[in-house]
Amino acid sequence: MRLNDLNYLMPLLVLVGAATLNMLVIAVKRNHKVIYGITLVAHIIALTTLLFLGNHPYTIDPFFIIDGWGIFNLGLILVTSLFVTMLSYAYFEQREERREEYYILLILATLGSCVLVISQHFMALFLGLEVLSVALYSLIAYLRTREHSDEAGIKYLILAAMSSAFLLFGMALIYADSGTMAFASIAAHLKALPELPPLLLTGFGLMVVGIGFKLGVVPFHMWAPDVYEGAPAPVTAFIATVSKGGMIALLIRFFAQVDGYRYPNLMLVFTIIAIASMLAGNLLALRQRNVKRLLAYSSIAHLGYILVAFLAGNQLGVEAVSFYLVAYFITSLGAFGVVALLSDTRRDADRLRDYRGLFWRRPATAAIFTAMLLSLAGIPLTAGFVGKFYILASGVNAQRWLLVIMLILNSVIGLYYYIKVIAAMFAQTQSSQKKTRKVLHPAISFATGATMAILALLLVYIGIYPTTLVQLLKGLLTTIVTTQ
């Protein structure tokens, strides 16, 4: 441990500090505003410390590596978590329960995800994963008086624990064969072998189960709709973005380092997972009448899209994944933000009929939601289009025609249910039901509105002028590409 290491770990330390500070403040006096403020400031400080980290890889042996890819993902996760925090205040202010602990859990979950993306060792991986998961168990069941809340929390707890066991077992098998848990040494060990021995193959297979569960890809997706439905809307946004993004980042780092692209068996498994996720996600979403469940299935499909770029296995593919993650994060935050915005104290606004005629009642909210849905569908002028274009480009470049064709087919299927929601918003309704809402301070509703507006602007900006983001990505990703 050198002094310089602290510099590089600063984002994580800030989060740890903030979580502790929040806890102490709550012990003295509960105040939603103060805790909210501390959380926001902590995120901003953590983001600022990122700026001082150089682009060249820095390893903290044996656990962490902080390189361009890590910095990109740290930044992405912190910004996303910041947005989730911003959306949370208005949401939880309306609710009667104890709201302050929520922020501690949120920070811890973010911390876990941050550990994931910079880990280069199985121990760090597992540590990060568990910090993330344990925080999520309680986040999902946070509004415990609600109908589906406990169910969702317990479902996630049991399945996540089981998938962790799979992951652990897989890691143990790999360790048994290679005698090491660091990614680099495993890669060196693999390089010496002509082909994958059965023990390692089994180990990888079991790890795929654990990773697949976290990503929510078919056939490990069963938890997603129930958890999305039962969790509070901001937490759903968090699960859809931060928790999945961290795992994707890890998967790419691990795969690139051990050069998993060499093994047709593994590629076949991932190809099947990608196609199955796209198809199952989109087809199951078709018949949903619950917006949160619909978005859950759509996120299963989107993870399938991301896997297409991941499977392209070239520089373009990694860029495409990162770009798509950014686009998808913005879109998911926006979509669940709208759900959170429209929710009342009793339940989240997740039924399709909550959205009927929304455009004529709340034009701005509906316009933002429309933009988000169009982005999910990959229509131009939105970030989702450029992201999908990027993925297609990487797929065509790597000549993975089957995946590319499946992606296109699925985009068309997906279009149907996104339009369904849009059509509901634009439907003419006679009765405009008035909802009784707890009146919030105007500054709060302004803050929420501003958050949504920022997300929408980002979405359109990236959709129209992706150059800035592409430039940034290309700059940051040089390292991971060279390791390949």
Binding site: P380, V412, P466
Partner: protein, 525 residues
């Protein structure tokens, strides 16, 4: 730069029109009218001064190239040649008419309606101007969403179904085109080392034949669905008949033309070999479309659906003409794009007028209106005659040139296509007979055309007559750019020793080469 302004003017105008509806519900339509009128006049300025602007060895009037996403080789590249100019004039002309047609028809959400109209026009303008394939796809999609809203919000009873169908059909086919665009992009990049979406640089990409065929298939998917050619046409009758009048006018008059434009601009010059190999099949589909559309049109009872099926029939001529690969046919196709836009647009507008008065589109409930609304009768008669291809009206020139051109390429199919003209007479006259002749059962109050409606009708009649009597300026304007699209074919015919089946069957190299020097259209004088 002026081309960018043209597009952004429409986009910004749309937003202003939307916002202005808060102040006064009458503002949006005036703003929209002003914006489109200004665009029209700007384009007209190009028309009058384009002779001076054209450089001697280039068909391009204005070109603009700004890097957009340089990392991918995407540039904001716009260019206008004679073909684009003609289509832009058509776009704004029909745009004005569409706005006027909705003047009293649209009563709800007025601001958002005109926003959508202006944005769909902006998308179409972009499609006709862009010379970057990425940007082309971008605009191609941009024009869909406002159209979807136009149908889905202000359409008739079955509007949601029609809107879904329209959106999904066009989106699916568009994505296949995107795949092909990427295919060309990477093949060109691997061959030359420069990765670019620029049309001019991609023009001379050479593909292995099989790959060329697949890539062209992607483009064809998008354009043939949009055109539409028969097996892919089923979205059209629904979308056209359920859309509000302005929507139908823009759909039939402009959106279908983007398909034809795409064929001329992209498929023909980018894939010379593959296109020639495919040509007989597409011509066959075109002829099937002509006949099948005509038969279905004849059996419709819904007036707008009837007109929609006539579009299927008329667009068959476009498919036939494009894949004849000679200048006669191309000139015919361009004329067909313009005159069909005008005549079908006019018929939809008239159907809209009737619907406003009768609240039905069922022609079984119409009849004998000649005596009550003679002015509308006369106007309808003109466009019914145009639709059946009466000499003296623009459509005749279009169909005649197309048939002359396709005769050189494929005689059998041309003969069958000609039968389509007879069928056109049957369905066109049926409109006249059912609506204006016979006995009047309706007890509706039927005011004749008012001043606004008369103005719209008159401008349409004058234009279609002018195109029929003096088509030369239009043909001249398009000639240079059409020759450019055909360049690849002429070189090939001269170069290759082995005759390419389709083209060689009927066109001797001389006849193809001799036309450009004289200009096919001059023979008409």
């Amino acid at each position: 730069m002026i081309l960018t302004w043209l597009i952004s003017f429409l986009l910004i105008g749309g937003i202003i029109a939307w916002l202005s509806s808060k102040l006064n519900p009458a503002f949006p339509r005036w703003i929209a009218l002003g914006v489109v009128l200004a665009s029209f006049l700007t384009t007209l300025l190009f028309w009058t001064s384009s002779a001076a602007l054209i450089q001697p060895n280039s068909s391009w009037i204005v070109r603009l190239d700004i890097p957009w996403v340089p990392q991918w080789g995407v540039s904001f590249s716009l260019a206008m040649d004679g073909l684009s100019l003609l289509l832009l004039l058509l776009t704004f002309f029909l745009g004005i008419l569409a706005i006027l047609a909705s003047w009293t028809e649209i009563k709800t959400r007025v601001g958002f309606f005109y926003f959508n109209i202006l944005w769909v026009l902006a998308g179409i303008t972009g499609v006709f101007l862009t010379m970057d394939l990425f940007l082309f796809y971008f605009f191609w999609e941009v024009m869909l969403i406002p159209m979807y809203f136009l149908i889905g919000i202000w359409g008739h009873e079955n509007r949601m179904y029609a809107a879904y169908k329209f959106f999904i059909f066009t989106q699916a086919s568009g994505l296949l085109m995107l795949l092909s665009i990427l295919g060309i992009y990477f093949i060109h990049g691997n061959n030359t080392g420069t990765y670019t979406f620029n049309y001019f640089q991609l023009l001379n990409t050479s593909f292995p034949p099989a790959v060329g065929g697949w890539l062209m298939a992607g483009f064809l998917a998008a354009f043939l669905v949009k055109l539409p050619v028969v097996p892919f046409h089923s979205w059209l009758p629904d979308a056209h008949s359920e859309a509000p009048t302005a929507g139908s006018v823009i759909l039939a008059g402009l959106l279908l033309k983007t398909g034809a434009y795409g064929l001329l601009r992209f498929v023909v010059p980018l894939f010379p070999e593959a296109a020639q190999a495919f040509a007989p099949w597409i011509m066959l589909l075109g002829v099937i479309g002509i006949l099948y559309g005509a038969i279905l049109a004849f059996s419709q009872t819904d007036l707008k659906r009837l007109v929609a099926y006539t579009s299927v029939s008329h667009m068959g001529f476009v498919a036939l003409g494009v894949f004849a690969f000679n200048e006669w046919a191309f000139q015919g196709v361009v004329m067909q794009m313009i005159t069909h836009g005008l005549s079908t647009g006019a018929l939809f507008i008239l159907a809209g007028f009737l619907y406003q008065r009768l609240h039905t589109r069922d022609i079984r409930q119409m009849g004998g209106f000649w005596s009550t609304i003679p002015k509308m009768g006369v106007v309808t008669l003109v466009f019914v005659m145009a639709s059946l291809g009466l000499p003296g009206l623009g459509n005749f020139i279009a169909e005649f040139l197309t048939l002359v051109g396709s005769w050189q390429a494929n005689r059998t199919l041309t003969i069958f296509a000609t039968i389509g003209l007879v069928a056109a007479t049957a369905y066109s006259l049926r409109i006249m007979q059912k609506v204006f002749l016979g006995k009047n059962h309706s007890d509706h109050l039927m005011p004749d055309l008012n001043f606004r409606e008369m103005g719209m009708a008159a401008s349409l009649v004058i234009t279609i007559l002018w195109l029929g009597l003096n088509p030369q300026p239009v043909l001249d304007r398009a000639r240079l750019s059409l020759q450019e699209q055909l360049q690849a074919y002429q070189k090939q015919n001269v170069k290759t020793a082995k005759p390419v089946e389709v083209a060689q069957q009927s066109i001797s190299p001389d006849s193809v080469l001799s036309i450009p020097t004289k200009g096919g259209s001059h023979a008409l004088k």
